[in-house]
Symmetry: C2
Subunit: 356 residues, 2 copies
């Protein structure tokens, strides 16, 4: 079935190049579109929810706070310090470097579209982007504050933020709080969506994907990748064992690390339950082509290698070079533009320079 479809696609692509629109090609495209629509959804306008509404005031404040480093104990940490504008919302490191030069245990995932995932962090131990931000305030590896009050003192030492908090949280006696800080940042992050050629395809513009990307999409579904990597973010909607067919480090070259006393066991590190050993959140794949290195420990640098590893580890298949190239072409169609409100960094108010 899949092979027949592919053959038709290739033939029709050649035909199209010569004769323009051809019924056979349209049929194949429409069949692929139908299969894709059953598994994936185009991006919404934003990732707000009834419980997590966004307003222009919240987003503007959150955009400033996202890049604000003075709320951290070493004066260098911010959301934007790990989720950098020049690296598609990552830091281009295998494992991140945080407060006072400490190396973090895992790779930084992109902030783009992350609010659409069903939980945050590789182990899913944060329910949403707001909780992720809030707990980073008191993480020794991130902002480093000993408690929320310490973070709030740093925030209140920058007078220019108070009117912005008052506008974003009207009617509150003391709006400059850690919780509101996290809500504003969450609101901003919920705007950081990156529509890509694949979204135009899902909307019905089958010419938005090239012939090889379509073959790759067909294989991505047919081989089984889409069994886990599906939904609006092409992943991020479930947990799965990393290394279904064998230990992941056999293929990734991952090294043991001290903080985990050996191998990173995923959700087990938090829950300590045996059934959670090596269980990770299935990562979203939007912008995967521009956000190497790959996996929870950044152990694989090249996308074709990461695809090959996943085929073997999760599906027990040795993907051919052609399969890998096609799937990579599809994954490249998940690359969107860097949002303008992220590429352009806001100017921040003065004050709060003394390290507390």
């Amino acid at each position: 079935m899949r092979k027949a479809l592919l053959a038709t696609t290739v033939a029709s692509t050649l035909a199209l190049a010569t004769f323009g629109s051809v019924i056979a090609g349209d049929d194949a495209d429409n069949a692929l579109l139908t299969r894709a629509r059953a598994l994936f959804k185009p991006l919404p306008a934003d990732a707000s929810t009834p419980e997590r509404p966004i307003t222009p005031q919240l987003v503007a404040l959150g955009r400033a706070l996202f890049f604000e480093t003075r709320v951290s104990t070493d004066g260098k940490q911010s959301c934007g310090e790990c989720h950098q504008p020049m690296y598609y919302g990552t830091d281009a490191l295998p494992r991140s470097v945080g407060n006072s030069g400490k190396v973090l245990p895992r790779n930084v995932p992109t902030v783009f579209n992350t609010a659409l995932q069903f939980s945050q962090h590789y182990g899913g131990n944060r329910v949403d982007v707001e909780e992720q931000a809030l707990k980073a305030l008191v993480s020794p590896l991130a902002y480093g504050n000993k408690d929320f009050a310490a973070a709030e003192a740093r925030l209140r030492a920058i007078p220019g933020y108070r009117p912005q908090f008052e506008q974003a949280f009207p009617g509150q006696a003391e709006p400059v709080t850690a919780e509101n800080w996290s809500k504003a940042i969450g609101a901003y992050e919920r705007t950081l969506l990156t529509p890509a050629p694949f979204d135009r395809f899902l909307a019905g513009d089958t010419a938005a994907l090239g012939a090889q990307a379509k073959q790759g999409l067909d294989k991505f579904i047919g081989i089984g990748c889409a069994g886990c990597h599906n939904g609006v973010a092409v992943g991020g909607q479930m947990y799965q064992k990393f290394g279904l067919t064998q230990d992941y480090w056999n293929l990734t070259g991952s090294t043991e690390i001290d903080i985990f006393k050996g191998r990173d066991k995923g959700r087990f590190q938090d829950t300590k339950k045996d059934e959670d050993a090596f269980i990770f959140k299935v990562q979203q794949l939007r912008n995967v082509a521009v956000t190497p290195p790959y996996f929870h420990d950044g152990s694989v640098a090249e996308l074709p290698d990461a695809v090959r590893v996943m085929g073997k580890l999760q599906l027990g298949r040795d993907l051919s070079d052609g399969d890998v190239a096609d799937i990579v072409a599809f994954l490249e169609s998940l690359t969107g533009e860097v949002p303008a409100q992220f590429a352009a960094v806001p100017s921040l108010p003065i004050g709060g320079y003394k390290r507390q």
Copy 2:
């Protein structure tokens, strides 16, 4: 003479408020403009020189490299890491934090308009922005490379830069070098100029400064600040002892620091000559209102306090609150817009993730 002029300015301002344009006011404005033009110059279009030419290709490459962190040993350092877009080209710290969390001995000056200064660094031990950048590559506190070859290896590990280097340095057998890296970054920095209301004033638009800023300009000249802080960058054209009338730390609250085995002695730290003790480059004052904290050690957080300290330390004068407020109003007229090619951070090519 100065007092008479001031009285005229104040009177004419009141008159203007009531009756519109008045000859006396125009005369006072023109007299102030004439005095200002003898001391200051408006910004040029860019800070290129015949020896340091710029091209669009050089600037585009330099803009990318400015924000590129993978050339550093900890993968976190870049020009943009200390000269941040959200803090007007500074890092909003008293003293900067560099490679692997090490604290630097001095405050980060803004990168804006710095190419117009006659030398770089507080001690002037870098002849231009290109030398400043180049030597940062092998500074243990900055990029941390053991030598230029190590930096070049990191740079060459990111394949996407090669075509950009080839375009910026046509005809070179191996253009991806540390020296070219610094030339490209220098070219970019030479575009980071920030035209301000004071430039419009110098160009003849006397309405570009408000009444208090004009009074402040008059005092800035008359009291003697402009004796050192003059020229196109309102400073940055000479050396001067910091603390002409008394030890600077009496008024700034500066603390002794280990790296200098006591007090920071300015140029003496490099030259070890007694006559260089406490000699610093006179800092440029463009954007001073938005780039606290102040002085080589970031010891003073508020601009009015910094003005007061300078009056006492350098001129032996106790400035009145009114003098300080007027001078601050003038200094605020030196605030320009963040250049678009700096506020918006470019997307960088993938690769080079392995820490060498």
